[in-house]
Amino acid sequence: MSNTTTETEQPPAPDDTAAERLSTAPVESDGPTGMGAFGWARWMWRQLTSMRVALILLFLLSLAAIPGSLIPQYQNGQGQLKVEAWKAQHGTVAPIYEKLQLFDVYSSVWFSAIYILLFVSLAGCIVPRTWQFVGVLRSQPPVAPRNLTRMPVHAVWRTGADPDTVNAAAHRLLRKRGFRANLSGGSVAAEKGYLREVGNLLFHLSLFALLGGFAWASLASGTGGKLMIAGEGYSNTITQLDDFNGTRFYGNQDLDPFYLKLDGFTSAFQTKGDQIGAARQFTANVEYYAGSDESKLKKSTIEVNHPLEIGGSKVYLIGHGYAPVVTVRNGKGDVVYQGAVPFLPQDANLTSTGVVKVSDYGTGPDGTRTQMGFSGFFLPTAPLSFEGTGPVSLFPGDAEPELVLNAFAGDLGTDSGLPQNVYQLNTRKLTQLTQDGQPAKARLKPGQGWTLPDGYGSVTFEGYKQWASFNVSHRPGNAIALTGAVLAILGLIGSLFIQRRRIWVRAVALPGGGTQVELAGLARSESAKIAEELAELAVDLQDDAPASEEEDGQTAPEDGEAVPEDGEAVPENGDPAAPDDPEAEASAPAVPADQNSKE
């Protein structure tokens, strides 16, 4: 690296095809050639498909991905909530961010533009490269250059053996070493490591498969959510799902038909140490059948890392909690409500909140038609006293369950016809019941009842069940993406661990008698490996072409011309193409980087 001036110097151009590049990497072009729109278009296309622009686009892609990791995104888990919270906090910049699509980076116009350009560039690069490579495969390795001692890696000696014998031996030895070798015109040309190029092409092509998998998934997938209390079941239709997000090719009508029932739920938690309360095990026991054939009912379990596949959908366990069972009686003692109501966890210890809506209460103590609502907390492990802390659970397991309730009477607003959040009480037309001037409130243990003030009847906390929530996800294209990924890795291994190289051998009769044997090697970079390989070959070849005695095995030829001592005879990139040929530039790193990291 210390002396780069040699790069620009003119080496005596070693002839012909030996200079053919060992890489199909695209070539740098200097400027628009020819006039007019066509010339410019061609130039721009060349630019777009050049290595330099590919590099810049790759760099831009990594830069562009950064903001999405620092700013909340709509598409992340609970993205909507986080984005809203963030917007509320940063009132002034939020609209600008929204305009710049910073809450939606990975589907934004600018992010898409970068990767689309990158893939266009890739297509424009990979297709010609593939053709070129097919051409290389169909032709023989390029014939040996005239002067092998000008090559970056070479060896020379003299022998008494006949040139034809030596060439034939070299041909045989190279074949034995797995080279594709061709003997013609008094020299042997051999090449090995085509898999490197194959690997590189395969890697880049499989990036398209990856992208295709991604695209297919984003056009034809859908996810729904369903919360079930132990003992409940549902059919996978739009009306029975809690929510559903479809796409172009997987909408409300396309849902995979199946039935799923939650039989029971088991959980386990850490009981000591500084991670006390952390979840250790969640298992949902379910029954299901695909399609509509009830007789095919099967039992199974769903755990956090083990979704259940039914038809074209996968069912994931994503949450769980408790559902207190309550019975409400009106003033006359009639049961007006009975059932399990899911309460939603608010913290890691499953302090849960929820509401009970009694819309068919009947007539209240004052004789008019009324409704009742209860809001409160379910604490799986309640503290002795709420003083200072309020109602919080101490542990997520159900060691000391308690239900804390407030009561409201009036109009729930359910008759308006508008959809209502089942986990919230709309208290606009409700009045809270009071006792001794304080809001009426009760702490109930399972089995306990609470007589409501003012003759509103009673509430009984019968017990509780567990509930689990599931994500029902239909995502095609996974197999394509996975295949792409596996091929990409295989391609990379070929591309990075295999070295493509050429070896030439020429034995010529010297005018004064005897034979001169010349060997040369060319790799994409000057590595120690090619030198060692050449040395091994030479040692083997000396069985058939022993070095002449008088030279005592010395190999350096006397004529200084052959050895590039002056440092100018060999272009430094290991590619003896004339440097004004722009191809020479793109073909190999200047630094002797060993591409062959196999050993």
């Binding site: 690296m1 210390s2 002396n3 290595m51 330099r52 590099l55 790759l58 892609l61 990594s62 991905a65 950064i66 999405g68 990791s69 995104q73 598409q75 992340n76 888990g77 990975y106 970056p152 890696v153 088991t266 009981t271 991670q275 952390a278 250790r280 969640f282 755990e303 956090v304 890392n305 979704p307 994931y316 994500n471 996800s473 995502r475 990924a485 990409a488 890795i489 291994i493 990075l496 661990f497 030198a531 060692e532 050449l534 040395a535 040692v539 095995g553 010395q554 350096a556 050895v563 590039p564 001592e565 440092g567 005879a569 430094e572 790193p589 630094v591 002797p592 980087a593 591409q595 990291s597």
Partner: protein, 376 residues
Amino acid sequence: MQLASAVDPQMADLSNKLIYSAMVVYTLAMFAHMIEWTFGSRGAVAVRSKEQAGSLSETVAAAGRKAAKKVTVTVAGAGGGTTTLTRTAVAGEGATVVTSGRGAEEEDGPGAAGTNDKADLAGRIAVSLTVLALLLHGGGIVARGLSVSRWPWGNMYEFSCAFAFAMAGAYLVLLASRKKVRWLGLPVVVAVLLTLGIATTTLYTDSEQLVPALHSPWLAIHVSTAIFCGGAFYAAFIATLLYLGKDSFEKRVEAGLTTGPFGTSASIWRRLPAASTFDKLSYRINALVFPLWTFTIIAGAIWAEAAWGKYWEWDPKETWSFITWVAYACYLHARATAGWKGRKAAYLALAAFACWLFNYYGVNIFVTGKHSYAGI
């Protein structure tokens, strides 16, 4: 309700003690390496190391015998100089001796100890201490795993311990396979100490079981390959830095200056391998690790698919793995692009490693995402 499987507190305690002891021994090894570097600067820097001289004479002896086959291969150097590689095969014995002589400009330095015997002794002591520390360190990791009967990399503390172990282990494996990498000793030991230091102070969490999202065979696969990649990227980073340093030094020498970059002593740089050696080393490591890093990301995606229903969600950790991946792809591309070879490519490698570091510490500490559920 069932109880989670228990934690063995004695094992957990033993694990902590072993890790602390390992840190003490690593510190001693660090001092020994410092002594090696200090004494080494007093001895004259030899042009050729003793080992090389030894094998040269062997070759000469072998070549002198009858029926020896000998080949010299000439290799043109980057700067226009030439290097030769000689292979000698003694007929009938099947043995070959390889000698390589190098052109002056590509001379590798003799190593930290220079030619000073005391420094060499200090270096040997340092290596022995590192081996001892590695044994303690490994014991600590195993004890941690035994205390909870699972793979010991469920949180950042455990992850960091394993990562430091991988780093020190890789270095010793290289040494054991007779690669001349003792000069790596000081940077490696310092990096290990830093990692362990951060792990035991800010990242520490008690030995516990895992949350259910981490119950997966992909955990062992994804996390262990991530640990390996981290260690290797670290090593490549050190090699890249040294390449930049040595390259500047070589340029300064050409310009007639006598000190290293940033006023460092020339004697340090002279004892180190050639810039091209560092460059090759960092490329080799990065190229070797890149497919494995690709695999790590894919394994993570498969795991995410099993746990959350989507293999890619642009969660911050995922995003930064992707950024790191693209940055390393940039680096590999740069090495094949005219005008981007050498130092520019090296800067890209540094940037890629910075992304990796941010992914490792930054994302866990500054950004919240799904990956931050285990202690820290």
